[in-house]
Structures are given as structure tokens and as C-alpha cells.
């Protein structure tokens, strides 16, 4: 087990190192931030001064060395635009994105599980067929289009919900959250629904398959023979057992929702991390882009590492094969 642990950590570190090189090179190959940052009227001297201050006049390898040295000390650089620590600027946006991902997650469960169960109980009925074919739409319609249509319908035509922004926030333990204000919740609903649509289609599919499988199990048959009401069978026995794969998949999807809500956040001008990423790319704020991507890599590596560790702990076969090989 210890050997396996050391090997996996070593692999993770290698992945982070390789990604650092790739991300840094890719981001630093694009454009010249000085041309974007400086006022158009700036003279050549002013431009040179900016380049020197940002360290852009040094050779690429030197810039990379400085970046790595600072990163090892937990400093992922200073934003060109805000001249604050890149990590601080990103983490400032984290609550907004987490909140969006969380509400989207709840929505996808609330939408996906009941529909999936209904479709699973009567796979050949009209309801089941309709649900399953509609869920294909949820998969295939592009995110930004759904967002725009929702804005058009609920914000522009009906004027029930606001079209953009985050709305009022309240501080909960020092973290500004909009979930607990009416105004904030109304701002959250459309982007969260947009983000949830794809996930709920996924949940429908998994829940449907799970329900069909569970319904054929002996314990369901026995429960029925025992005379339990269909309601109790579904609510207790089926639901409990088919939720396991749903939870597993959603856990993994949560990571991608936090890291890649970029499109949804842009369409709704939602001030989360994804929008920060897009804005920073446009402004060539390289430290923010690099820090964001490194943070994402780090999160995913950690998640994978933890999952692997858990597998090893749960499943002796993994341990044994690793010990041998």
C-alpha cells in the first residue's frame, strides 16, 4: 500500500510539472500584454518601463524559472491588470462559482432523479419514451444557446427573472453568498438551470438504467410478494439502491462544473471564475490564466489521487496487483 501511495503521488507530481510547462508556454506564446495594458498614447519609454516591471523583457526560460520558484512557495504570480496576487483575485470569485455549481447540482438531482425513476419504471410507456428522447436534447443542445433562449424567454419576454449578474449578497461566515437573498436567488436560477440541463440529462440516463436494473432484483420481487405498496418499494428500496451510481457520477461532474462554467458565466455575465478566465484571456492577464489553469490541474489531480486511494483501500485486488507489479 505504501509503495502504491508513493508511486501515485510521484505520478501526480509529474503530471503537475508537465502541465506547468505546457500551460506556461502556451499562455506566454500569445500576444504582448504591454500592448493591451498600456494606454494607446503611451510612448516607447513607457512601454519599455511596463515590460520591465512585468518582467516581460527577460528571456522566456528566466520568466519560467521565476514562475516555478515562486509557485513552489505558493505564489502563482501577480495579476498584470489588478496588480494583486493572482490567487487572491481568483479565490475572490470562487464563492460565486461554487454557489452556481451547487445550485446546479441540486437542480440536476431534483430534475433528473424523479424523471429517471419514472422512465425506468415504465421504459416502454409514453412518459418513459418522452423523457428519454427529451434527455437527448439536453445532451446535444449547446450550452450558450440554451442560456440565450432562457434569457429571451424569462428575462426579456416574460420579465420574471433578471438577465445577468449576481444580485444582492449576504456574508455567511465572511463569504459573500447570494443564495440566501431573494434577489440573489432570482439571479442564480437561470444560469444554474442552464448549467444543470446537461447534468440532469446525464442523471436521467443513469437513474433510468439503475431503476430498471434494481426493479429486476430479488429483493424488489420479495418486497412486492410481501405486499408492500408500490410507493414504498420505489421510495425506499429502489431509490436507495439506484442512487449509488448517480452520486458517484455527480461527484465527478461537480469538479468540471466548478472549473468549466465558462460559457454559462459569460452568457449571463455571472461574476464567477469562468468569466474571470475569459476576461483575463482577452486582456492577456497571463498570471491569472496560468494560476487558474494550474489551480484546475491541481484540483483534478487531487481528486483523482483521492479516488485512486479510496479504490485501493476498498478493493484489495488493486493493492495486491500493485504490490506484485
Amino acid at each position: 500500500m505504501l509503495v502504491y501511495l508513493i508511486r501515485r503521488i510521484g505520478q501526480s507530481l509529474l503530471v503537475i510539472a508537465v502541465m506547468a510547462v505546457l500551460v506556461f508556454l502556451a499562455v506566454y506564446a500569445v500576444g504582448d500584454p504591454v500592448a493591451i495594458l498600456a494606454n494607446p498614447e503611451a510612448t516607447q519609454q513607457e512601454l519599455d518601463a511596463i515590460a520591465a516591471r512585468l518582467g516581460l523583457d527577460r528571456p522566456l526560460w528566466e520568466q519560467f524559472a521565476i514562475f516555478v520558484w515562486n509557485a513552489l512557495q505558493g505564489d502563482l504570480g501577480t495579476s498584470f491588470v489588478y496588480s494583486e496576487s493572482a490567487l487572491t483575485v481568483i479565490l475572490e470569485r470562487l464563492p460565486a462559482t461554487m454557489e452556481l455549481a451547487f445550485v446546479a447540482l441540486v437542480l440536476s438531482i431534483l430534475i433528473g432523479v424523479p424523471l429517471g425513476v419514472i422512465a425506468g419504471l415504465k421504459p416502454d410507456g409514453l412518459a418513459g419514451r418522452t423523457i428519454m428522447s427529451t434527455s437527448i436534447l439536453g445532451f446535444s443542445l449547446p450550452n450558450f444557446w440554451i442560456g440565450l433562449m432562457l434569457i429571451l424567454l424569462f428575462a426579456v419576454e416574460l420579465q420574471w427573472l433578471p438577465a445577468s449578474g449576481r444580485g444582492d449578497t449576504v456574508d455567511v461566515l465572511g463569504v459573500p453568498l447570494s443564495m440566501f437573498t431573494l434577489d440573489g436567488l432570482s439571479h442564480l436560477l437561470l444560469p444554474a438551470f442552464t448549467l444543470a440541463l446537461y447534468k440532469s440529462s446525464l442523471v436521467i440516463r443513469i437513474a433510468q438504467a439503475g431503476t430498471r436494473e434494481v426493479m429486476l432484483q430479488d429483493y424488489v420481487r420479495f418486497a412486492r410478494a410481501k405486499g408492500l405498496s408500490p410507493r414504498r418499494i420505489v421510495m425506499v428500496h429502489v431509490l436507495k439502491n439506484m442512487m449509488i451510481p448517480v452520486v458517484t457520477v455527480l461527484g465527478l461532474e461537480l469538479g468540471s462544473m466548478i472549473a468549466f462554467a465558462v460559457v454559462t458565466e459569460t452568457v449571463f455575465s455571472y461574476p464567477g471564475m469562468g468569466k474571470l478566465l475569459i476576461d483575463s484571456i482577452n486582456r492577456l492577464d497571463r498570471p491569472i490564466v496560468v494560476a487558474y489553469l494550474m489551480l484546475t490541474v491541481f484540483i483534478f489531480v487531487i481528486i483523482n489521487l483521492v479516488v485512486d486511494m479510496l479504490y485501493a483501500a476498498i478493493d484489495p485486488r488493486v493493492r495486491l496487483s500493485e504490490a506484485k507489479g
Binding site: 500576444g31 500584454p33 500592448a35 494606454n39 460565486a96 449578474g165 452568457v267 461574476p271 468569466k275 476576461d279
Partner: protein
């Protein structure tokens, strides 16, 4: 559906009554194209920052909607001689925290500008060149400059005055190479705190949430009458579709630059559109590098010569372009054909500047005279997300040039890449824009036409390497001349020469649109700023 909407509205009424402030009609929400990067008035010299700044921090002078320099915190000023300026400060002005405004605040501000750390684009140039500052009395100041600085009053419009008392600068004294007794000068992040963002402006900072909103509230003690709005909220909505949707949904009252294709729909739904001629000219630059054997990138079929050094070729290109067609067919009403680098009546422009006529036959003759009877081929580079319809304009120009035998392909790219490559001299011909921040034709003449000189800062954007010593001499003379009339005459002469020599080929002046809900009036500004001060309820 209508009924459900009403029922929903009724159901939420009690809540609305709890949350809404009593003076709902006095609130204004503006959807901005791009977000100010800081509240600090001296941090980042960029349009959105300067627009926000003028709500909170006023300068000694200010630019009016036509970019004429008018009084603000200084009630009047005069040039005593070529290197001496006397400014009379307005009396009875207080900062939003109640402390009175006087000469010490001006000194502290001028001292503070160079101390801003990590400024992405500094304001130092606006306060450079001052030799000494004398305070005759708390409301009369005399500035002595090392050399004549005719633009000093204009420069002061860009420098928002901060309070000396707020940062312990009561005893600061000015010296050109570093002030003394500065206390602890504030850094950019300090101003994000409403407690520290203290100015004399019509509005006070209420809150600043990066990426989400900037909220301003009325400065009840403002010296020039009660400001119109109780509260002003600015929200950055970069995506133009989202911006229009936010207006249609009633989230915001005013938006910047609605896309042309949505004008009809907006008007149909009862929204209004205001348009104002801007200070920005869209122009073509041609690689004028006259070095032996230099061929501009992308140019082919010229036997190893640079065609653009020949004024006849430049004229041929200019006369091949149907500016009227571009303005009317491509730009809707959002462009005015240009024959100069700045629209009349801004400082240094001429009233009857002709627009170069569309004359393809003459263009072909000129090309033949220059030795290119069969034309040549070139690549026209352009940004595709910086100016209104930039890529489409480039396409139109390419087609027009093809008609006179210059086979043109367009290479359009995102702005960040475009400008970096331009600064690396990677283009033979390119399309770009220039906004004159000072509202004077000296700005485009210095940036686009004057010979490149890294030491003096002349020709900073003249990446075409055009050089004409006569124009340089006139511009330099103008920048030493304090007398307004003499200076304007010099600039007019320089501009006339530049246009006659096709030193830059102007296409059109951009017209800036704003869209807003019914019941408002908006005064368009030439500098394209959106200011709450220029928006009033319609009476």
C-alpha cells in the same frame, strides 16, 4: 402568460416593497462594455477607469462632451508667460468626508501620482515637467514648468484630485524629483474601500465588487448643485448580446455600444438610441520604411521595391476607397467619412477639410505613373474585435483595392494578437483606430505621423515609419507654443501637410451609440465615456 406574469408580480409586491428603496425613480443602472480595473484615480490610464474616476474624483479642469477643456475645481487659469501658469481654485468646495479642498490637496495629488506602484499604465506623464509649485494663497497656485507646456491645463483634466488630509499629506511639499513629507501614500487597493475613496465629485463610492458591480451614491454636499441620481450602479456586461438582453429585461437602464443589428428591435420596443461623433478615426497605415531593398510584409509583385514610399501609390490607395459606401452601407449611421485625423470642430481641425474623393480611374492612372500599371498584391491586416465592424471594413477596402488592380487579401485577428504583431512590424498595410484623448489634433499627429523617436515619445504609434521633417518641425513648434491661436494655426498647417502627403489614410470617424430606456436623456460624449452626469430623466 400575461396574466401569470401579473399574478407573479402581485405576489412579489410585498417583498418588492421591503427591498426597494423609496426613491426608485432616482436610481440608475448602466451596463458597461468593459470594467474599470480599479477605483484608484491614478492607477490605470484607460477609458473605463477615467470615466469612473470623473464621478468620484474631479480634476482642476475637465473635458466637456465635445472635449473642450473647461473649468472644474479650478474656476479659471491663465498663462502668465510661456513657462508660468496661474490657477485660481474654486472656493467653498469640500471633499465627501467634509474636509475643505485647497491647494495642498492639489500638491499632494501631483506628488502622489508617480508613487503608484505597479501601475499598468501610468498617469505620470500628465504631471511631468513641473519645475515648482507656489501657493500664493490656499486658492491660488502658480506652476512653473521647465519648458513651455501648452497642454498643462488639458493634462490636469485627467488627474483626479485626492484629499491630502485623508492620507496624512498636510505637510507635503513639491519637488520635481520626489516630494517630501508624503506620509503614507495610498496604494491602488486602498481606494477599493469607500472609506478611502474620497473625492470632491458628484458621486461617492458605495461599493466595488470586482466583476460584478460598482455602486455610487449621491454626494449631498456637491458644490455644483444636487446630483441627479440617488444611486448609480455600473455593471460590466462584456458580451454585447447579454448587454442588450439586460436592457430589454429591465436589469439596466442604459447600455454602451449596442450592436447595429439590434437598433431596429430596440427602437420598436420603445428604447431610445443616442449617437455622438467620437474622437476616434479609423485609418490605414502603410509600411513607409524607405531602407534599400525593404519590401513590406505581404507585398508581392513590386520587383523588390517598397511601393508605399511613393506618394502616388498612397494617393491611389486613398482615392480607390469609397468612404461614403463604407459609412452608409457597412456602418449604418455609425460612421462619418473622414478627410482628417480628428473631426471638426475639435482643436486644430479645419472647418472645410475635404474628404478624399472616390476616383478609381485616377487611382489607376496614379499607379501606372508610379510604375505599377498592373498593380501588385498585398495583405491588409486588421483586428476583428476592437473597432466597430473592423473586419468587414477591411474586407470592403480589400475589394475596392482589387478594382484598381491591387490584389488584396485580408488577415483579421483578435486585438491582443493584432497590436503585438503590429508593434513587431509584421504588416505591410493595416487598419487601426486612434482616439484623441486630449481632444486635440496634436494627439494623432504626434502618435501616427511624427517621426518615431523613443527619447521624445514622438511617433509612438507610427509603426509605418513615415517621416516628414517639415511636419515634425511644425508639430514640435506647436507643442512649445502656449498662445492658443498660434498653436492651433501651426497644428492646422501640420495636419494639412500630413493629409496632402497621405501620411495616414483616414477612412471614417466612429459614431458611438448608446441605448437606454424611455424617460431618459443622454448627452453623447466625444470621448465615448458614459457618465451618470450626462444622463437625466426626460422632463
Amino acid at each position: 402568460m400575461q396574466r401569470t406574469a401579473k399574478r407573479l408580480a402581485l405576489a412579489s409586491l410585498p417583498l418588492a416593497m421591503i427591498f426597494a428603496t423609496p426613491a426608485l425613480a432616482q436610481e440608475l443602472t448602466i451596463g458597461l462594455t468593459s470594467e474599470p480595473t480599479a477605483v484608484d484615480p491614478h492607477f490605470h490610464n484607460l477609458g473605463p477607469n477615467n470615466a469612473l474616476r470623473s464621478h468620484i474624483f474631479e480634476g482642476l479642469t475637465q473635458a466637456d462632451e465635445n472635449q473642450q477643456n473647461v473649468a472644474s475645481l479650478a474656476s479659471d487659469w491663465e498663462a502668465v508667460d510661456d513657462t508660468t501658469w496661474r490657477f485660481n481654485l474654486r472656493e467653498g468646495v469640500t471633499f465627501s468626508d467634509g474636509t475643505p479642498f485647497d491647494a495642498q490637496d492639489v500638491i499632494y495629488t501631483i506628488c502622489r501620482v508617480p508613487t503608484v506602484q505597479d501601475s499598468p499604465s501610468s498617469f505620470t506623464g500628465f504631471v511631468a515637467g513641473i519645475d515648482s509649485i507656489e501657493v500664493e494663497d490656499p486658492h491660488t497656485m502658480v506652476f512653473r514648468t521647465a519648458s513651455p507646456l501648452p497642454l498643462l491645463p488639458t493634462n490636469f483634466a485627467s488627474v483626479g484630485i485626492i484629499s491630502a488630509e485623508a492620507f496624512g499629506g498636510e505637510n507635503a511639499t513639491y519637488a520635481p524629483d520626489g516630494c517630501e513629507n508624503m506620509g503614507t501614500p495610498p496604494q491602488a487597493a486602498d481606494f477599493n474601500d469607500p472609506e478611502k475613496a474620497i473625492g470632491t465629485g458628484p458621486y461617492k463610492l458605495e461599493s466595488y465588487v470586482r466583476g460584478d458591480s460598482i455602486v455610487l451614491s449621491r454626494n449631498e454636499n456637491y458644490w455644483d448643485g444636487t446630483p441627479t441620481w440617488e444611486q448609480v450602479t455600473m455593471r460590466p456586461i462584456a458580451n454585447e448580446g447579454a448587454r442588450v438582453a439586460a436592457l430589454l429585461a429591465g436589469d439596466v437602464d442604459v447600455i454602451e455600444t449596442p450592436p447595429i443589428q439590434d437598433f431596429d428591435r430596440l427602437r420598436r420596443d420603445g428604447y431610445q438610441i443616442a449617437q455622438g461623433l467620437s474622437n476616434r478615426v479609423i485609418y490605414l497605415h502603410l509600411d513607409n520604411n524607405a531602407e534599400e531593398g525593404h519590401v513590406p510584409p505581404g507585398v508581392e509583385g513590386t520587383n523588390g521595391e517598397n511601393p508605399f514610399t511613393d506618394v502616388r501609390v498612397r494617393e491611389a490607395i486613398s482615392k480607390a476607397i469609397d468612404r461614403q459606401a463604407i459609412a452608409s452601407r457597412l456602418m449604418g449611421t455609425l460612421a462619418v467619412p473622414a478627410g482628417d485625423l480628428l473631426p471638426y470642430p475639435m482643436f486644430g481641425t479645419r472647418e472645410d477639410t475635404p474628404v478624399d474623393p472616390y476616383d478609381p480611374d485616377r487611382s489607376r492612372e496614379l499607379l501606372a505613373e508610379a510604375g505599377y500599371p498592373n498593380g501588385f498584391s498585398l495583405v491588409l491586416s486588421a483586428p476583428n474585435d476592437r473597432y466597430m465592424n473592423d473586419e468587414k471594413i477591411a474586407q470592403a477596402v480589400a475589394q475596392m483595392l482589387a478594382r484598381i488592380g491591387i490584389n488584396t487579401t485580408v488577415d483579421a485577428m483578435t486585438a491582443s494578437t493584432f497590436f503585438s504583431r503590429r508593434n513587431n512590424y509584421e504588416y505591410g498595410m493595416w487598419l487601426a483606430g486612434w482616439g484623441a484623448a486630449t481632444g486635440e489634433i496634436s494627439s494623432p499627429l504626434i502618435a501616427l505621423v511624427a517621426t518615431r523617436n523613443a527619447d521624445t515619445g514622438m511617433g509612438a504609434t507610427n509603426r509605418q515609419n513615415y517621416s516628414n521633417p517639415e511636419i515634425d518641425a511644425l508639430v514640435e513648434e506647436a507643442m512649445r507654443t502656449v498662445d492658443e491661436d498660434a498653436r492651433e494655426a501651426l497644428l492646422q498647417e501640420a495636419a494639412t501637410m500630413a493629409m496632402a502627403d497621405y501620411a495616414t489614410i483616414p477612412l471614417h470617424f466612429e459614431v458611438t451609440p448608446w441605448a437606454f430606456r424611455e424617460g431618459l436623456n443622454l448627452t453623447p460624449r466625444a470621448d465615448q465615456y458614459t457618465l451618470a452626469m450626462e444622463i437625466e430623466p426626460a422632463s
